[in-house]
Symmetry: D4
Subunit: 130 residues, 8 copies
């Protein structure tokens, strides 16, 4: 059983890589996707549509461009894993969780204090077994 998992949220640690490597080590048939996780590139995503002096409109423009990618990938996924970090407000993570809830898309939320990446991999193994 092939499966697509969208990894949402915190971008300052290597949690995405840990889950992907764990899944690979078990030979699971899973495609992982995510937003663009390069922070500076993400903030500048809309700059190609015209430089904006006001930060409000720069953010607005970049959010629109980022949404083209994230909307498509969330809707194509079978499961979304949302990780909240402890340093930032993580509105994007909570926004994605709400987006999933409205679509009826299954999602799991993780918090920084948990060290549960092996467990996430274990659940993916269980879910996608033949």
């Amino acid at each position: 059983m092939s499966f697509t998992v969208y990894l949402s949220g915190e971008i300052h640690t290597s949690w995405r890589e840990e889950i992907q490597q764990g899944a690979e080590a078990l030979g699971l048939d899973i495609t992982f996707t995510s937003a663009v996780t390069d922070h500076a590139a993400s903030d500048a995503a809309g700059d190609h549509l015209g430089a904006q002096e006001q930060s409000f409109w720069r953010d607005h423009q970049s959010a629109k461009v980022n949404a083209i990618r994230t909307k498509t990938l969330i809707e194509q996924s079978d499961l979304v894993v949302v990780r909240f970090g402890d340093k930032y407000k993580q509105w994007n993570a909570a926004f994605d969780a709400g987006y999933c809830a409205a679509l009826g898309k299954p999602y799991v939320t993780l918090h920084a204090e948990d060290i549960i990446h092996p467990q996430v991999v274990e659940i993916l193994r269980y879910t996608t077994q033949a």
Copy 2:
């Protein structure tokens, strides 16, 4: 034109009342709805389903009960106003914004530094004029 507006987010200031009084003063035909904004009652929303020792499951249970109300009210609304405060993480506010985005429900986001409640009322007046 009658209209229903769901007021989401920050619960520690009187912004809901300000918008409602402004709309009333103009005689607008608007129904305002929101989650239960009594913080303690909201945290205890699920306790009637059985007391939980672990805070994780207490939160989970209360979130489920609160969602019965918020899901219904957001889906019945014509517009959602989401206000982010400056003290808390406001995941609920961001979650509601994502929920609206996925449903294609119009929503406006406000931030604490803005003093734009008269403007919100002005927009409601414009939107609901005969």
Copy 3:
């Protein structure tokens, strides 16, 4: 806040009446609906479309007629309460729960060992407060 609650499942005890009386005592603005709970009438629901000798087709016909009512009422409700009794297989109750899950309709399941009707009423009071 007005609210519609569909009461699904067990038909051999007075749990529906208990919840309705509790809600009435509190003055809640709730409409309760349910399938036809007269067992014999429910089994005969399709007989007017022509008597059937084979019980399979009699059941089939009655199920179709009953579904006209239950489908409409479940889709119009804001919340579904599903009660499993302890004597019967209760496939209808589980079917209704699955129906709700697929629609994204909020539902609560109760089991016979629980004496939680006052609690259900408490949750309805919380959910529908102004």
Copy 4:
């Protein structure tokens, strides 16, 4: 014509294998899917998210994890075959039937007294003929 069939319900007999072998013998282009049918593994599906002392929450957690798989597979299928056994309450089977009904997904229900697996294969052969 390729086709995907989800086999729901009873897990204590070999009915899934019989249908699959029948379809294979006829060379039908059908993919069969199902929930995880190892009972113990299924009950423990959520344990990786953290051990739970209360059986209620253990069941709840495992049900959530199992739903990630079953929801995806039912929605991807073209037909669901639901088999009720005679020993257990089979709420999962009835739940899946209700889930299909709400989605408008075609489903067939079988009962233990029927020996109709060759017939199911015959119907699959008919349905998928070029």
Copy 5:
């Protein structure tokens, strides 16, 4: 329980009136709707958009105008009763049945040889009982 029933199909007998009178005699809270059943008016429904010399385009235009009404009424109904007569091809009746099937709208089909209007009324009484 109030209920809306759309009566589709045959327009050359008084079957609509018989069902409506039967429902009224029982005091059922049912609204009956239907397409415009005046045959000549129905064929001319689009003529106000400009007279058409070719009957193909006259029919096309009238079909479009009639669809404004029927689409709205079918979607607003809780049940559709489709009656096939014995004299005409009744494509409209079959079209409406297909329309209902795709929407998941409950519908009942009747044929000319049946004298089942009292039965239809009986089913409506059963379905809408309190």
Copy 6:
């Protein structure tokens, strides 16, 4: 039969009033809705969210505010009448027509050279007859 008609497009002639008066004269039970048709007010609809120096963002902001109203009203309507004038590009009119097409909402398009308002009224009379 009550009915809601959204009148989209050209705002420089009195076509809306003509249709409304015609419907009123016939005593039809129709509610007419439309975007805000005061051109200056419409262009300024977003100004309350903050004055914008760049006309691009002023337009963008006003379009968002106007969409709150038009989206709600189009989705609540049973029929949309779209009138193209001869002086302006009428992108809003064409946008609304595309919006209707995607929703499966019935719509009629009128062009400036046509003097067909009495005909539109005639069609409304036909469509909403008892």
Copy 7:
């Protein structure tokens, strides 16, 4: 551009083959699908679920089995071509047209007097050009 076309309706002439051969001759990348067009097999589609003495239930059972196939194929198609013959009532053809209308699926209807298969092929060539 690849494309899937469902051919619905009349089964007593070779119109399906003519369109398929025309498309093949032009090298169009089109997959054609249809219901099972062997009349006797189609009427017996449900017999494997148990022989029925009453023709009503035999028809009902076969219709259910046939619908598994046709529902799947219509929903997977990009275009439906519905051909009405001149000998039969063709309720299935009209039913499929109504089904398409409710789904917003594009469909074309043909009648027996037309000799337009080369034209249908021409339209398919146009529609699927790179």
Copy 8:
């Protein structure tokens, strides 16, 4: 990440080719689709269904045939780029934008005065990066 982009609107300049060549030069995994952009062929798209003397019906027929293609391609796309030219009324472009808005499909609008095709390519590169 593979991606499908529908290019809507203006057909008298080479903007489509410029974007496609830019994407190709960067090795992006993007499929570009569009309506038939040969103006004369597009106007004649419906002529194979029968020549029409009245231009109204010729246009109507061709629009229907063109819609088979555009509807399918817009719904299959992940992003729609709509370009308005400066010479024509561009109702098709605005119609497509409204169609996207109603579907919740992401779209970007370009105007003739902008020379932003390299920027569009830049955004596509950003959106589809691994």
